[in-house]
């Protein structure tokens, strides 16, 4: 569970960040794809966006559609809220995940190991990407003005791959998370606001 949550959130964050900066519109290699994400991150102190999440889960007969928001602030705060009727809020503070269900008024916390901390990812992004990260394969496809970067973890976790789709002007369109059990999550982004001066209040979980 730990790896799934942390990887989903981290990639969600990184891919959303990429939306603001990249302007490349050409066939790129995997390393270049990641470098595009890295460059996009530079200069961003915080951002927020609205999301629509569609989950196709084998436990459910129908697709589950939810709306919500995501927020980020440096150095290591990430917040994601799903709106009612399936309301939930999730806060990642470096390595600590807090999950809150308003309707049930229940809170649970999970600690990530240091190697999966948010700070660690930003340390990775502090220098140009010249090689692929350990433990994952990366694929970058371009179709017209749309670029898709797919990350395939090599570990034995539940996630099969993550795929982000961006327009050549750097506008992120969607994030797809595919699990080995066939479950699939699609998140589409809109109304992204960068460096709007988010405060602690924007990261309150309850």
């Amino acid at each position: 569970m730990r790896k799934v949550i942390s990887t989903v959130m981290t990639l969600t964050l990184l891919l959303v960040l990429a939306w603001g900066g990249s302007a490349a519109a050409r066939q790129i290699a995997p390393v270049e794809g990641l470098e595009t994400l890295r460059r996009s991150f530079a200069g961003i102190n915080d951002f927020s966006a609205d999301i629509v999440q569609e989950k196709q889960i084998s436990l459910l007969k129908r697709k589950m559609v939810s709306t919500g928001t995501v927020r980020f602030r440096k150095p290591a705060l990430f917040f994601m809220e799903i709106n009612p009727p399936r309301a939930s809020r999730l806060l990642l503070n470096d390595t600590q995940i807090t999950l809150y269900f308003p309707r049930e008024k229940s809170t649970s916390q999970i600690a990530l190991p240091p190697e999966q901390s948010l700070q660690r990812w930003f340390t990775f992004l502090a220098r140009p990407v010249t090689s692929l990260p350990d433990g994952a394969d990366v694929r970058a496809d371009q179709q017209g003005d749309t670029l898709t970067v797919t990350v395939i973890p090599r570990s034995g976790g539940q996630v099969r791959e993550f795929a982000v789709t961006l327009l050549t002007d750097g506008t992120i369109r969607k994030l797809v998370i595919s699990e080995k059990n066939g479950d699939r999550t699609l998140i589409t982004f809109s109304r992204v606001r960068k460096n709007s001066g988010l405060t602690d209040k924007d990261f309150r979980i309850n």
């Binding site: 569970m1 399936r86 390595t95």
Partner: protein, 847 residues
């Protein structure tokens, strides 16, 4: 008969001393060769002696509370564990803990990982699947895991409307960003029946009072976090433990929060340097004071320099002999040999003082030395044996701390005596040859002549004051208490001790704990007996006498409760099919049915499902990520099953004796332990040991004194100051709020052995002499110096950080100081009275 025995003893001692004088004055080279030979033998013995470092082996642990206490440390492995306490700002403490735990995991000793495991989080996410599997099992086996009070709520959750609500909640969880991780849990328990099971499991598995909302071992105020680490090798391996301690110190360098370390064995190593420094500074300061006193009084360099040789010789010979016969020697017992500095110096003082005085009076070197060795030597022989015997009688005790201490100090005293008798005479003769023109000037009297005259002028007043003072001290001594709190004996600034206190303050469920063990080979029988203990504990908890208790019975129902829960479930589900109801609810809420077939089948067979046993439930719990809860409460080894019930209480409100009585009534074979019970057991053992030591040692002292003196006055003169000194020591301790404890009780034996020396020396020299004032000044000076050197040796411990040593130091200061004052101030009048009333003043006194 007694007279014959004492006469024969006296005669044998005289012959023995005459032989020593003959040998040391005529064959000094042979004496040195023999001494060197025995020292070499002792060194070999010491080098092959195994020195023990396990503090728990200092006390008798064949049975009782201490046995169970040690067993529980062994079972849980907590004796070997290291505890790291991080203190700091709330926001900083968790990242620092992560970083420090990472460094501990990477720490290596001799190329191998230093720790087998390092834990600081309540829940390891990598165990999510196993956790979900167990929760699914527990939710469908309410007979084993559901408390009877929760049965109605459990049954309500199985109603269609409640099922719909639970499935909506499951949908919300799946929709969240953590949904992928919660999938297994939703499949295993779609109706969240875990709500009725997990609080109980969490409560029962909690050993520390932690923030329930934090995934870390974090205190409720968020300012203290504990990391528990299991070293890869036993920390009784001192070489490993020292390297580990060094690595730990490096790992916590540069941390932005305060990190302190504790742990039963590791703390001994962490504190080792501080303790060594403490003892070493006591030894060095004592030695310096002793040498300074000796030199300041006698102004002779070589005899002064001989003192460390005598002390070292006494220690090495004693340790060598003890090492040859004991299987091992504890390093703490060895540390107490520092006391030889104070004790071993006395004989040189008396011997040299007499020699100096006789030389000053004009006697030739040989004659002066003969008198010193055979006459004063008789006094110091009796003094040494009366000091050594009470210590040596401690060898019979069960308490290893005392028996080893008794053997080592007793032997140390005897060997110091013989080293003095064999080395000092040849040295004195050598000095005569070296400086034939040395002029022996009168030694300082320290006002003793004036004291003698003043006391005798106001004899009646001195007697009355002395007796009144003794009476007053005896009355005060009646208020002496026994200090059984082991914590007060700890080093006051020990990191481990302070850390342990912080753990108790911030993270303990209650200040005190008692552990009850129900044991046997038949698991079912052990569980049933454990249930009766639970019931007893629950009565005490309901009355507020126990703050809480935890047991396996709180995690898993015993057979009787299980039968009752199953009966209620069967009754509540009469005419209902919860499996079918779940299937319908899943379809209503848009869930696929197939992934939940296991749960549907489990619910369908819920009614009438009384087949699972407590044994199976415990086995499932032990195989789950919650196995720690089972490990805390159930141990299986070659002896059978050990079911442990932890009782938490605050203090006096828990009537321990009444509980133990009731426990014995319901289960005569159940054992119990707690710090209080261990203290009580140790106190009883120590009291018994000291009683026997006091009786046997006292009898030996009286026998030796009777062998020395044939008059009642001599016996009185020897025993009155020591009786007064012990009364004064106890009285002052009572007045200053200091109790007798496990360690300073040893001073009673010391005072008994040493205190009579002072009176004995004075009586030996004064009684029957024509110039008693001169004899009193000589003997009194030696007694004064002996007392001061003893206080310097023992008394310096008063300023030690180690509470046990400090209490010994203070008790000695009071006891020796008072004994000396009573001997010097009172005996002139009592001995004077004896002289006046004696019809035959010269009878039987030596010489």
């Amino acid at each position: 008969m007694l007279n014959r025995v004492t006469g024969a003893t006296q005669s044998a001692i005289k012959r023995h001393l005459a032989w020593i004088f003959r040998v040391t004055s005529t064959r000094p080279v042979m004496v040195f060769v023999a001494f060197a030979f025995f020292i070499a033998l002792s060194v070999v013995s010491i080098l092959t002696t195994r020195f023990e470092a396990d503090v728990f082996k200092l006390f008798p642990a064949r049975q009782g509370a201490l046995r169970l206490f040690l067993d529980s440390l062994q079972w849980t492995g907590s004796a070997n564990e290291a505890y790291f306490l991080l203190e700091g700002e709330k926001g900083r403490i968790v990242p620092e803990a992560e970083a420090f735990a990472g460094r501990l995991k990477e720490l290596r000793v001799d190329g191998a990982p230093a720790f087998r495991r390092v834990i600081y989080r309540i829940y390891d996410p990598s165990e999510a699947r196993a956790f979900a599997d167990f929760i699914g099992y527990a939710a469908l086996h309410p007979g084993s895991f559901l408390e009877p009070a929760d049965v109605p709520a459990y049954l309500r959750r199985l109603e269609p409307k409640a099922m719909d609500e639970a499935l909506r909640r499951a949908g919300t969880e799946l929709a969240s960003q953590a949904g992928a991780g919660l999938r297994d849990l939703v499949v295993a328990d779609p109706l969240a029946l875990r709500d009725f099971v997990t609080p109980r499991l969490k409560r029962g598995s909690q050993a520390l009072d932690l923030d329930p909302n934090s995934p870390y071992f974090l205190s409720r105020d968020g300012r203290v976090l504990i990391i528990i680490a299991e070293p890869a090798r036993p920390v009784q391996d001192m070489a490993f433990a020292r390297k580990l301690a060094k690595g730990i110190n490096q790992a916590r360098e540069g941390a932005r929060v305060r990190i302190s370390c504790a742990g039963a064995h590791l703390s001994a190593v962490i504190d080792e340097a501080a303790m060594k420094g403490d003892i070493l500074s006591c030894i060095l300061s004592s030695l310096a004071v002793v040498l300074l006193l000796f030199f300041a009084t006698y102004r002779r360099v070589l005899p002064t320099l001989l003192l460390p040789v005598i002390i070292a010789g006494g220690v090495v010979l004693a340790l060598g002999l003890a090492g040859a016969f004991l299987p091992s020697i504890h390093i703490i017992s060895f540390a107490f040999m520092a006391l030889i500095i104070g004790l071993g110096t006395d004989y040189s003082v008396h011997l040299y003082d007499r020699y100096h005085m006789e030389r000053c009076a004009g006697l030739a070197p040989d004659e002066a030395l003969r008198l010193a060795v055979t006459d004063t030597g008789h006094g110091i022989f009796t003094a040494a044996t009366t000091t050594a015997m009470p210590f040596l009688t401690l060898a019979i005790t069960d308490v290893r701390a005392l028996s080893e201490l008794g053997i080592l100090v007793g032997l140390g005293v005897l060997f110091s005596l013989y080293t003095t008798l064999f080395l000092l005479p040849p040295l004195l003769l050598f000095m005569e040859r070296l400086s034939p023109r040395f002029v022996y000037r009168p030694l300082p009297g320290f006002g003793l002549a004036a004291l003698w005259r003043g006391s005798r002028r106001r004899a009646r007043l001195v007697k009355v004051v002395s007796l009144l003072a003794v009476a007053a001290f005896c009355i005060m001594a009646c208020f002496t208490t026994f200090e059984g709190e082991l914590k007060n004996l700890q080093p006051r600034h020990s990191e481990a001790f302070l850390t342990q206190e912080k753990i108790e303050r911030h993270l303990s469920l209650s200040p005190k704990q008692m552990l009850v063990a129900v044991e046997g080979k038949d698991f079912g029988d052990v569980l049933a007996r454990g249930a009766r203990v639970d019931l007893l504990a629950e009565h005490y908890r309901q009355r507020g006498e126990l703050a809480a208790f935890s047991s396996l019975g709180q995690l898993v129902n015993d057979d009787a409760v299980r039968a009752e829960v199953v009966r209620q479930i069967d009754q509540g589900l009469a005419g209902r099919d919860p499996g079918r109801a779940l299937k319908d609810a899943l379809e209503r809420q848009g869930f696929a049915v197939e992934p939940f077939e296991g749960t549907i089948a489990g619910l369908a067979s819920l009614r009438g499902n009384g087949s699972s046993s407590s044994t199976e439930a415990i086995a499932r719990l032990a195989a789950s990520p919650l196995k720690g809860a089972v490990d805390r409460h159930l141990i299986r080894d070659a002896a059978g099953y050990h079911l442990l019930v932890h009782l938490f209480y605050k203090g006096a409100e828990f009537p321990q004796d009444a509980f133990l009585k009731e426990l014995a009534a319901i289960d005569p074979s159940a054992r119990a332990t707690s710090v209080d019970l261990v203290s009580r057991q140790l106190a009883a053992d120590v009291k018994q040991s000291f009683l026997w030591g006091f009786v046997i040692g006292g009898a030996l002292v009286i026998f030796l004194l009777l062998s020395h003196f044939s008059s009642a006055l001599g016996l009185f003169a020897s025993l009155y100051p020591v009786f007064a000194g012990i009364a004064a020591m106890l009285g002052i301790m009572a007045a200053s709020g200091m109790g007798i404890n496990f360690m300073n009780a040893m001073v009673l034996v010391t005072i008994l052995g040493m205190g009579n020396d002072y009176g004995m020396h004075i009586a030996h020299r004064v009684e029957g002499k024509d110039m008693p004032e001169r004899e009193f000044v000589q003997a009194g000076r030696a007694v004064l110096l002996s007392a001061l050197t003893t206080i310097a040796g023992f008394g310096s411990l008063a300023f030690a950080d180690y509470g046990a040593l400090a209490s010994i130091g203070w008790a000695t200061n009071y006891g020796i100081g008072a004994t000396m004052i009573f001997a010097l101030a009172s005996l002139p009048v009592f001995l004077g009275a004896g002289r006046r009333s004696s019809s035959a003043p010269d009878r039987q006194m030596l010489p």
